[in-house]
Symmetry: C2
Subunit: 68 residues, 2 copies
């Protein structure tokens, strides 16, 4: 199972539903927008603390970003 | 929220319920036992791919390791 791709698809979907740009989400989560783009593309392997920060901004639980 | 501590407590609890030693879980998940001990102690910030490998060995979903 490629959890990077699953997280990426979930982040991209939830960000769109909440009307955030990549720049807004990256800023509010305290990560670089280049890193966020890599996460959304499924090319990165983020840590649980980064997952937690993104989840907080998107008002979901971190586990929701791992749903298949 | 300290996701490292939450993951650590969940891994330790689920590993105990399934009757795995730290050595068995670390071996089957392909990580060093020292690293697993650090995860269980809440001192590490594992990646989602490590989370996925531990979850697979414990027969849970990775999101279950992030439940508060």
């Amino acid at each position: 199972m490629d959890w990077g791709k699953i997280v990426g698809a979930n982040v991209r979907r939830l960000r769109g539903e909440r009307g955030f740009t990549q720049e807004q989400l990256a800023h509010d989560a305290g990560i670089d927008v280049t890193y966020l783009r890599g996460i959304e593309a499924g090319r990165r392997n983020p840590s649980i603390s980064v997952l937690g920060r993104i989840a907080t901004v998107l008002s979901v639980r971190p586990g929701d970003l791992l749903i298949t």
